[in-house]
């Protein structure tokens, strides 16, 4: 069998840790090869080695059967290896074409850039693979999904034959994910080989031919995707049995905790993002809010937590009106908020973990007495949250948040918000970008909060997650609730239709 890429017996050591231990990855021509593993399993290290960013301590790499020495990314490029990084590397105020040709510009006389020629080529490739990118749009004006296609076009423009996708679906909406899958299939049909780095099992089942699983730096195995189930893959990845279904005891709806009435909120451009929205959330329930990204979820969360002004309508917590109060007053009234963007809002990355764990309570006794910080008390509090929520880090409470893994950062935020014991917890995409183990843990914590009679609003773009742990599902479309569903009596298809605005349930059509 001919392999396009062979990475044989790769071992890579970092100080104190063996990131790859005798790993072998063999990719056939024209196949989609998934690389599966939890965060920190060594996927990124392996790909960085292939891309020339790290040198392996042991092992050899063969491209098209020939042994090669890839010591920098240029060599990788010349060998036809291209990579779409998880965080895009694009110049915001350049056009699509300018971004694609950056670093490899076609030249006219006197060193002028031949932008016309570039435009044409970009357009051709876009049409050939059905990418439908507009060569003249500026990056800042196009959607995240489109930006990713620009990254893909960049690889195609450089004639890459081996395409590496690093967690490509983490930032996409369900629709965009489907489109991306189709694009990947087209590439494979054209004879290009794809390595898909992911921890989403569903996507592997949907699109990949072969799957190599890594766990803690070691290769667990390489399997034919058609022969295994999602559960098999998950167990290979985690190393133990995994429960997709959260164990959730039945319970009756408790009293009303949150009452949102005829809420109207504007977005940054001054357009109405939340439209006459009314919603109740009860004690002891998880209300899942489903919707395609950009349908007013962000504005709704921001209004609930006080980050954004309300245009009209009201929000009541325990029968007390909290609309347009200051963020601190809302926090003190008993609202906890796990933000969508944990780096922007959730943490001060340059603060230590203990400082981050008292980010809303630093001024209150016992953390502070008359405006003077009590470091001992803060460390004690931090330690309690760290123990309770199993937050792992290099130097415990003294670790700088920036150096922690994403999963542990998220655990720290969730620990902090739950520990404040709010009556109402907003969990915005609480498991975004996390691996199966962390997701399982976070779901169980949310369910545990439900048992404590708290009201929980969970916003998620992942329908599985919504269906799995919600007691009721509210679907949001263009800032309106288009239906409230019972997760036991609905399915992905129905919710999907409602998310795209083509169906309403139990709410009046205007």
């Amino acid at each position: 069998m001919d392999y396009v890429i062979e990475m044989l017996n790769i071992t890579k050591d970092f100080p104190g840790i063996r990131a790859n231990d005798d790993v072998t990855l063999q990719v056939k021509k024209g196949e989609i090869h998934a690389l599966l593993g939890e965060n920190g399993a060594g996927k990124s290290t392996l790909m960085s080695i292939l891309f020339g960013l790290y040198k392996p301590n042991k092992g050899q790499i063969k491209v098209n059967g020939k042994e090669v020495n890839i010591d920098n990314p240029h060599v990788a490029n010349d060998l036809g290896i291209g990579m779409v990084h998880q965080h895009f590397k694009l110049v915001e105020n350049f056009t699509v074409t300018e971004n694609i040709i950056l670093g490899d510009e076609p030249k006219k006389s006197f060193g002028r850039v031949d932008i016309e020629k570039a435009r044409k080529r970009v357009k051709e490739t876009s049409e050939k693979y059905g990418l439908s990118v507009d060569p003249d749009s500026k990056i800042e004006d196009i959607s995240v999904g489109m930006q990713q296609r620009v990254e893909i076009s960049k690889m195609l423009y450089r004639d890459a034959e081996i395409l590496i996708f690093d967690e490509p679906t983490a930032v996409l909406t369900p629709q965009e994910i489907d489109d991306l899958m189709n694009i990947m299939r087209t590439f494979a049909k054209e004879g290009k080989s794809i390595i898909l780095i992911t921890h989403k099992l569903k996507e592997i089942k949907a699109v990949a031919d072969t799957c190599t699983v890594l766990r803690r730096g070691k290769m667990i195995g390489s399997v034919n995707v058609a022969d295994v189930t999602e559960k098999d893959l998950a167990e290979m990845m985690v190393g133990r049995e995994v429960f997709f279904q959260v164990d959730k005891p039945e319970r009756k709806q408790g009293k009303k905790i949150v009452e949102i009435k005829k809420l109207n909120v504007k977005d940054n451009r001054g357009l109405m993002a939340v439209n006459n929205l009314s919603l109740d959330i009860h004690a002891g329930e998880i209300l899942g809010l489903a919707g395609i990204d950009g349908n007013g979820q962000t504005e709704l969360i921001e209004a609930l937590s006080g980050l954004r002004k309300i245009d009209s309508g009201s929000i009541a917590l325990n029968d007390e009106d909290i609309s347009n109060r200051s963020i601190r007053k809302i926090t003190e009234a008993g609202v906890g908020h796990i933000p969508q963007d944990r780096h922007k809002y959730g943490l001060v990355l340059d603060f230590r973990l203990d400082e981050n764990l008292v980010l809303q309570t630093y001024y209150k006794e016992p953390n502070s007495v008359r405006g003077i910080l009590k470091h001992d008390e803060i460390t004690k509090k931090a330690q309690q949250i760290i123990d309770e929520f199993d937050v792992r880090s290099g130097q415990g409470a003294m670790t700088v948040a920036r150096s922690m893994s994403g999963g542990n950062q998220q655990k720290a935020i969730i620990g902090r918000e739950i520990d404040r014991s709010p009556d109402f917890l907003i969990a915005a995409q609480p498991t975004r970008g996390l691996d199966v183990g962390a997701i399982e843990y976070i779901h169980s914590r949310l369910v545990a909060e439900r048992e404590k009679e708290r009201a929980i609003l969970m916003i998620s773009l992942e329908l599985d997650e919504i269906l799995n742990i919600s007691d009721r599902i509210a679907v949001i479309y263009e800032g309106e609730i288009v239906g409230i569903l019972d997760p036991k009596k609905t399915d992905e298809k129905e919710i999907g239709l409602m998310m795209s605005g083509s169906k309403r349930v139990g709410v009046a059509n205007e």
């Binding site: 301590n57 963020i327 601190r328 003190e332």
Partner: protein, 370 residues
């Protein structure tokens, strides 16, 4: 691995090792420049050593070996720039760039002169009022860019630059209006409202060193205490690192911006008092800026925006500044001192480069060690 090597490669110590590398490199290049231009570098180093320690290394073990006046003058020079350094550093911790220390210093100097000359009170009340008025005037000058930033998001750099010019011309005008002012200076400070001290002069061989040294010491303590120990300082640091997360956590970001600029202004205002009722003991009508504010930026930068760092770097820059006349006497052009100071700023500004370089070096060591 040797001890020095270990220290160099310790990532947690970069905050200390990188500035020291910057200083050493600057002196090294300064020495090379002197050698290339045919100047004896020893003259420069002796001048610097004599300025900072008072010891004359040419006359060791004679009665002319030690002169406390040099130490006094050196400290006198270091006082105002340490305070402007604190000012810039404080704003910086909240994510603000205070270019306005110069102007805040000028209004502080004027306020001190005015209250010193115009009031007549017992020293025990008078002096605190004079010092406080300097701090308040500086705070007021910092309040303007602070509130403009907080309310209307006007960039503080633009506003503070404008406020510097406003301060220069306004203080000149007002100082000239004081009774007895000439075209270049006001009358001497009131004896009950001055920092000058016969006692300090007597123990430092008639240097101009004054009680301001206590003001600076207290300021450093206050800076450290506010930033590290209070919940207010916690907020300021949080806002400086990540305004979005601070807002999310319920902190009043805009209010903190305003307070931070005011406190920064107060430190610079105190620096003004160091000059007008300390070093000179009269208000001066200035032709142009004296760049104490810009020196403060350098001091804060080298000091890593922490209290103890600002103190040490204030002393170093003060030493380089006050060594210039003695260097000239030793046949070294005073520009050499300026070259070294500038190189320090340049190298500290390159700290990310150094850190990267140290990291690659560490990586190499690691790989070779295997």
């Amino acid at each position: 691995m040797s001890k020095i090597k270990k220290l160099l490669l310790d990532e947690t110590k970069y905050k200390i090792t990188v500035p020291i590398i910057a200083i050493l490199l600057s002196f090294l290049i300064g020495t090379i420049v002197m050698l290339l231009t045919g100047i004896n570098p020893l003259g420069a180093f002796k001048a610097l050593a004599r300025t900072m320690t008072g010891i004359n290394f040419d006359k060791l073990f004679t009665d002319k070996m030690f002169n406390a006046r040099y130490v006094g003058e050196f400290l006198t020079t270091a006082l105002p720039i340490t305070l402007t350094g604190l000012s810039v550093a404080f704003a910086f911790r909240t994510g603000l760039f205070n270019i306005g220390a110069e102007g805040q210093l000028l209004v502080g100097a004027m306020a001190a002169t005015v209250t010193s000359i115009m009031l007549d009170l017992p020293a025990i009340i008078h002096l605190p009022i004079v010092i406080l008025s300097a701090a308040l005037a500086g705070a007021l000058w910092g309040f303007v860019p602070g509130i403009l930033k907080a309310k209307y998001n006007v960039h503080e750099v633009v506003v503070t630059i404008m406020m510097n010019y406003t301060a220069l011309h306004m203080t000149n005008y007002l100082l000239k209006k004081l009774p007895g002012s000439s075209l270049i200076k006001t009358v001497k400070s009131n004896p009950s409202g001055t920092l000058q001290s016969d006692f300090i002069a007597s123990i430092t061989n008639n240097s101009r060193l004054h009680w301001g040294i206590i003001v600076v010491g207290l300021s450093i303590l206050v800076f450290w205490y506010i930033i590290e120990k209070t919940s207010f300082g916690f907020e300021l640091r949080s806002v400086g690192f990540n305004p979005d997360a601070s807002k999310y956590a319920g902190m009043k970001v805009t209010r903190n911006v305003m307070f931070s600029m005011m406190i920064a202004g107060a430190f610079a205002g105190l620096a003004g008092a160091m000059l007008s009722i300390g070093t000179f003991d009269y208000g001066r009508i200035l032709v142009g800026f004296e760049n104490y504010g810009f020196d403060g930026i350098a001091v804060a930068l080298l000091g890593g925006n922490v209290a103890i760092g600002v103190l040490l770097s204030g002393l170093l820059f003060g030493g380089l500044k006050s060594a210039q006349p003695l260097m000239q006497a030793n046949g070294v052009p005073l520009e050499i001192a300026k070259i070294i100071s500038s190189l320090i700023v340049l190298f500290v500004a390159m700290k990310y480069g150094f850190e990267m370089w140290l990291r690659t070096y560490a990586k190499k060591q690691e790989e070779e060690g295997k």
